[in-house]
């Protein structure tokens, strides 16, 4: 859905600026360097801040609001944004702001957990294909091609629809998104591992008698951590959009749980009903946009920070 290769700017980070006087006598580690480069990416830093703020607001904010998120108030349907309903109310008179914060917990959690599943699966498959090559590479990558050729949302709907008896639990949604998203990660990891496998230090490790597992964990893994973190960040964005798309199509978590996508699904049915009804559709989508945009900016900053040479790609 999103092209992960997009870059924010073709300029190398810090181009055109005076080189700061670093204390060259002090040694800085690789991750310290990455961290410094990341901090220089202004948009990524701001986005990271917004994300932290968003998460804190979603998890702590509801505690401060007096109303209940699932309590209907039929005398107060489609209220305009005002006090105490900052964002107005929905078709059942439920406070939109509170529901957005509660829904944010679901959307963010599903995004992060689905990312974990994706990265574990994609990382494993990509690493196996890249490291062992030959038959493993061929068969795994043909399998990856096959999965990529079917538009993801179609398989997702198929999988989740078949769980209608078992229930659309969070675990089903998260696993379904993870199980269908891994090919993108697998491809990236494979290509990185493929090049690392040929490096001298891997050869040296093998010469000194290290087994495949030890080489993979001790020598390959630390070197793919950068691409993995970039892929992981961008995957959170994908997963949030996918989850909300599924909810919008009626294949998300069932009511009364409402993620941002679920709120849109609900709002879609009554946008013509009242003058202020469109607000119920405006705010949840805005939250998805902000969250995904920030995640993408952070991912972009991470990519530049890990590999400053990759800016032209």
């Amino acid at each position: 859905m999103i092209n992960p290769t997009l870059e924010q700017s073709e300029l190398p980070p810090g181009a055109g600026q005076r080189v700061p006087d670093y204390d060259l006598t002090r040694e800085i580690g690789y991750y310290q360097l990455v961290w410094r480069r990341l901090l220089r990416h202004r948009l990524a830093v701001i986005s990271g801040g917004v994300l932290v703020l968003l998460a804190v607001a979603c998890y702590l904010g509801p505690l401060l609001l007096p109303m209940r998120w699932d309590e209907p108030d039929l005398f107060n349907r489609y209220a305009a944004p005002s006090f105490p309903h900052v964002m107005g109310t929905d078709d059942l008179g439920r406070d939109l702001f509170k529901r957005i914060l509660e829904g944010g917990q679901v959307s963010l959690a599903v995004g992060v957990l689905a990312m974990l599943v994706t990265i574990i699966l994609g990382g494993l498959i990509g690493a196996l294909a890249g490291y062992f090559g030959r038959l493993a590479d061929n068969s795994l990558m043909r399998f990856t091609d096959a999965v990529l050729a079917i538009p993801q949302i179609f398989i997702l709907i198929l999988i989740i629809a078949s769980f209608r008896q078992a229930g659309h639990t969070p675990a089903v949604i998260i696993l379904a998104i993870g199980v269908t998203s891994w090919p993108y990660t697998a491809r990236i990891i494979r290509s990185v591992v493929l090049s690392i496998r040929e490096k001298e230090f891997v050869e040296a490790a093998r010469a000194t008698g290290s087994g495949n597992l030890k080489i993979l964990v001790r020598h390959v893994l630390p070197n793919v951590l950068g691409p993995i973190m970039v892929a992981a960040t961008l995957t959170i964005g994908f997963a949030i959009i996918l989850e909300s798309a599924l909810s919008f199509l009626g294949y998300g978590l069932g009511p009364p749980i409402a993620s941002w996508g679920g709120m849109l699904f609900n709002a879609n049915a009554f946008i013509y009903d009242a003058p202020y009804a469109p607000f119920a559709a405006l705010f949840p989508g805005l939250m998805i946009l902000i969250a995904v945009l920030c995640v993408n900016f952070v991912g972009d900053g991470l990519r530049d920070a890990f590999d400053p040479r990759s800016f032209e790609r």
């Binding site: 997009l6 993801q152 469109p278």
Partner: protein
């Protein structure tokens, strides 16, 4: 050339076999079984059920079922809907043209908007305008399509309706009543009415591609503009416009062909969501409806057709690239 095409087709066949096998296997492991819809009648006895399963071959080994399905596929037979008892092929044939029309419109919108944006951004690299377009591209890529669609509906249809009493653009279906046609029967109905209905879904489906293609054209244009022949053209004293349009533009568009081919799966996915927002009776909506009924023959059929179209799209893009760029040699 012909040899190359034939070889590519031969390479595509194993891929399609793997795809169909994976899909078939997925259906086997899911909790709801493809035959559940057949057995939903509560008055059936156990013997009836066994007879039905036997009749449709569901009690045979997995591999036999798969091979039977593939043999039927070669005869353009994808089974039939257990819900409406229409053949899957006819159901898809009824809807596919609608989706293709929507995707075609989206491609046109994309190219018309993304190419100028990309070129301007490249020529004015690092300017305020370039930065603005870059930010716009990021927003376009992060934009949830269904929400964008809803916002367009609210702005151009709901609000005008509430305040002025009419809608600027229609938001559901392909024609107003009384103007209907049927694309599957090559009947456009009222073409102007159809075009009017196409505007919003076309834009919604195009928005992510516009952002992506815009960035792509920009970097490809920057690539081309740093080539030697561009310097030569400038050294000859050609005007900036002539250099950019005649020498840069044409060469920078070549990679777009590949992108368009690779974009097909995303476009189908976007079409499913767009069709849902605008109740567009396309294949994505057919899929959604069938998923709601548990009509797995149709679901499987649609996914097989999709896979074929995706593989075909890549193939056409590869061949077209070689045709457009004489530097590419076929081996």
């Amino acid at each position: 050339m012909t040899k190359y095409i034939v070889r590519r087709i031969l390479q595509a066949i194993p891929l399609l076999l793997v795809i169909s096998f994976v899909l078939f296997a997925i259906l086997q492991v899911l909790p709801e079984k493809p035959w559940d819809l057949l057995l939903r009648n509560p008055r059936m006895t156990a013997a009836d059920r066994a007879r039905l399963l036997d009749y449709y071959g569901f009690n045979r080994p997995f591999l036999t079922q798969y091979l039977t399905y593939m043999r039927n596929l070669l005869h353009f037979d994808l089974g039939f809907s257990y819900f409406s008892h229409q053949s899957t092929v006819s159901l898809i044939a009824e809807r596919l043209p609608n989706t293709v029309l929507l995707m075609g419109t989206s491609y046109i919108f994309t190219l018309l908007i993304a190419i100028p944006i990309g070129i301007v951004a490249a020529v004015k690299q690092y300017s305020k305008l370039d930065n603005f377009l870059t930010t716009g591209a990021f927003i376009g890529i992060s934009l949830p399509q269904f929400w964008f669609g809803l916002m367009l509906i609210i702005l151009l249809s709901v609000l005008p309706y509430q305040h002025l009493g009419f809608r600027l653009f229609p938001t559901d279906g392909m024609w107003d009543s009384g103007h209907e046609g049927n694309l599957a029967h090559l009947n456009l109905g009222d073409p102007i009415n159809l075009a009017w209905h196409l505007v919003l879904p076309g834009i919604v489906l195009a928005v992510q591609s516009i952002a992506q293609y815009g960035r792509f054209v920009r970097s490809s244009m920057l690539d081309v503009l740093s080539q030697d022949y561009i310097r030569t053209a400038r050294a000859k004293g050609l005007s900036q416009l002539r250099v950019v349009v005649r020498h840069g533009f044409r060469n920078s568009l070549l990679p777009l062909i590949t992108l368009m081919g690779l974009d097909v799966p995303q476009l189908f996915a976007g079409a499913l969501i767009t069709e849902q927002v605008f109740t567009w009776p396309g294949m994505g909506r057919l899929f959604w409806e069938s998923a709601g009924k548990g009509d797995y023959q149709v679901l499987l059929g649609i996914m097989i057709i999709l896979a074929i179209l995706v593989v075909l799209g890549n193939l056409i893009a590869d061949v077209a690239y070689g045709w457009a760029d004489p530097r590419i040699q076929y081996r």
